[in-house]
Symmetry: C2
Subunit: 334 residues, 2 copies
């Protein structure tokens, strides 16, 4: 730690700490000659103001927190990338917290963050439970922006994508490709994000006169082995001819299960997944995806947070919807 502080600068220059502090912040009260001397010495000694002292005095941290289920996930790491870039422009610091989809962890994080450690929170919540009291408390206490994984019934600024439309469009695409038994891999069902994706699926089926078959609805878990088993079971026993996966994490298991069961994609079964995998075009076969603008979601969320800081007040319940894009590839070819 740098042990050079304002007091030392002041001593060295025969000035008071007040004057040094003011000189460093280019206060009008200080003569330009004094400013020059202070700045020069500060630079030569590599002086950096102690952030904790400043934060304590100013009651702000120049820090934001990002809470996500996993860092090592294409969507979230892209979003973090977007967030970090915006934060950088404002000279803000970014704290990262992973919940691993664990609600308890998420609760502990959010509540701990209300101590003043951060000026605002960006969160994509774990949908594990319906426990959301902590989110309400948090957003009453400091600015919070929810992104992608949101509860619609919590007041707050939200950045989401057009989940319903994307999902609907995906099913439509499968149907046009000839699918008649379309399975849905359900996730995030406690969140409105998941709910909307499901609704898109259901409505698209109805609009096309296809009755809903509950055997074709697979609810995923946090355990990837179990998910794999569920998917294999679905394929083996219910023989769908199309799959819409509502999260990226279930796409690979589908591919593996098809291999194992000797099902040819897209001949025997067509697959679409919500996904930000940049290898989707290179998969065997290439994967049709609903791709969310992950980076933009992150930068948009961060941008709005800063606007809130700037008091360019936002509607407390504003929701911004970005568009996902359906990219058709071989996995749904006719």
């Amino acid at each position: 730690m740098s042990n050079i502080n304002i007091k030392k600068l002041a001593q060295e220059l025969n000035l008071s700490t007040a004057t040094v502090s003011r000189a460093l912040t280019d206060n009008y009260q200080i003569s330009s000659e004094t400013k020059r001397r202070v700045l020069e010495l500060a630079k030569s000694l590599n002086y950096e103001p102690n952030p904790f002292a400043s934060n304590l005095r100013n009651q702000k941290s120049k820090t934001i927190a990002v809470i996500v289920p996993e860092v090592a996930n294409h969507f979230f790491s892209l979003a973090i990338n977007g967030i970090e870039e915006i934060a950088r422009k404002r000279d803000y610091h970014v704290l990262i917290y992973q919940t691993h989809e664990n609600s308890e962890t998420e609760i502990a994080f959010t509540l701990k963050l209300l101590s003043g450690r951060v000026d605002g929170i960006l969160i994509s919540t774990s949908g594990e439970t319906n426990n959301k009291q902590h989110l309400i408390e948090a957003s009453q206490s400091i600015p919070v922006v929810f992104f992608d994984r949101v509860y619609e019934d919590i007041e707050g600024v939200k950045i989401i994508t057009d989940d319903y439309e994307s999902s609907y469009q995906a099913v439509q695409h499968l149907i046009e490709a000839g699918c008649k038994k379309i399975a849905y891999l359900l996730a995030l069902h406690n969140l409105s994000t998941g709910e909307k994706r499901l609704n898109g699926y259901l409505t698209a089926l109805k609009d096309n006169g296809i009755p809903f078959n509950k055997n074709l609805l697979v609810t995923s878990t946090v355990d990837s082995n179990q998910n794999y088993a569920l998917i294999k079971n679905l394929l083996a026993n219910n023989k769908p001819d199309g799959i819409l996966s509502s999260i990226e994490e279930l796409a690979f298991p589908c591919y593996y299960a098809c291999r194992e069961l000797n099902l040819n994609i897209p001949r025997d079964i067509k697959i679409i997944s919500f996904s930000n995998l940049d290898c989707a075009p290179l998969l065997n076969p290439s994967l049709t995806t609903i791709t969310q603008p992950a980076f933009e979601i992150g930068s948009e969320a961060a941008g709005i947070l800063f606007k809130i800081f700037d008091k360019k007040c936002f509607e407390p319940n504003e929701t911004r919807v970005l568009k996902s894009v359906l990219i058709k590839r071989e996995s749904t070819a006719v």
Copy 2:
């Protein structure tokens, strides 16, 4: 921000702030009855100590910084995952900084961090330039652990993988698969990481009596379009029958270039890449990789940083080498 502090607790309970503070830290001087009262009130009011006040007083931040080139990269996001998990166990906070391979940015970050904002730094440096004075200054000032991308000639604790051996082994594998003109996609050449990978390639060639051909050595840039052009050019003009890519980022461009040029992998050309892509097995064809234990590198680095904090003193120049694994797949099939 929570506006409840020790003073308010003290007032409420008719105690001094000193007593409250001691009660909260379970100090032996305080009667159990008083402790009970304090803890009870603190809990009911959701009291969280102001971190800046504590940090200022204690001269430590319970925060570490992670500096990486990119968050949205499989290797780094996995490493961050590992770091975050370890930090969590110690109740430390994790700040993230991306350099985007820009040396200036990296310098600015590291120097700013020496103000006491963090207790230690984990860094995987950008290899863009040979500018490393800031790294030396940083590690003289606070504990720094370098991971994966390191300069061998900087004093400090380093977590790396067996780059030389991995690279050597990869070339050996290509040769055994029948390759005679093996190209090398060079990256990180300013770092000892890159140097070792290159040396593994060169030595393996020599040991197999294959003369080095400088036309088969392609030096990558930070511009992905340019990299793609370089690779296509390599394939078109020099017709290698094998490629070793020293970083993950260049694997996809190889696949795309092969498609474009109608080259069949692995018939016309075999490919190996350093990579943590979890879709490697699902690519078309599946990609042979040298996979680094990214998560472990992160957790190991963080673990050592904490040991340094604990003053279980480390050799100041200790280097820990983890093993990568060569996973043979279709892209190098005979």
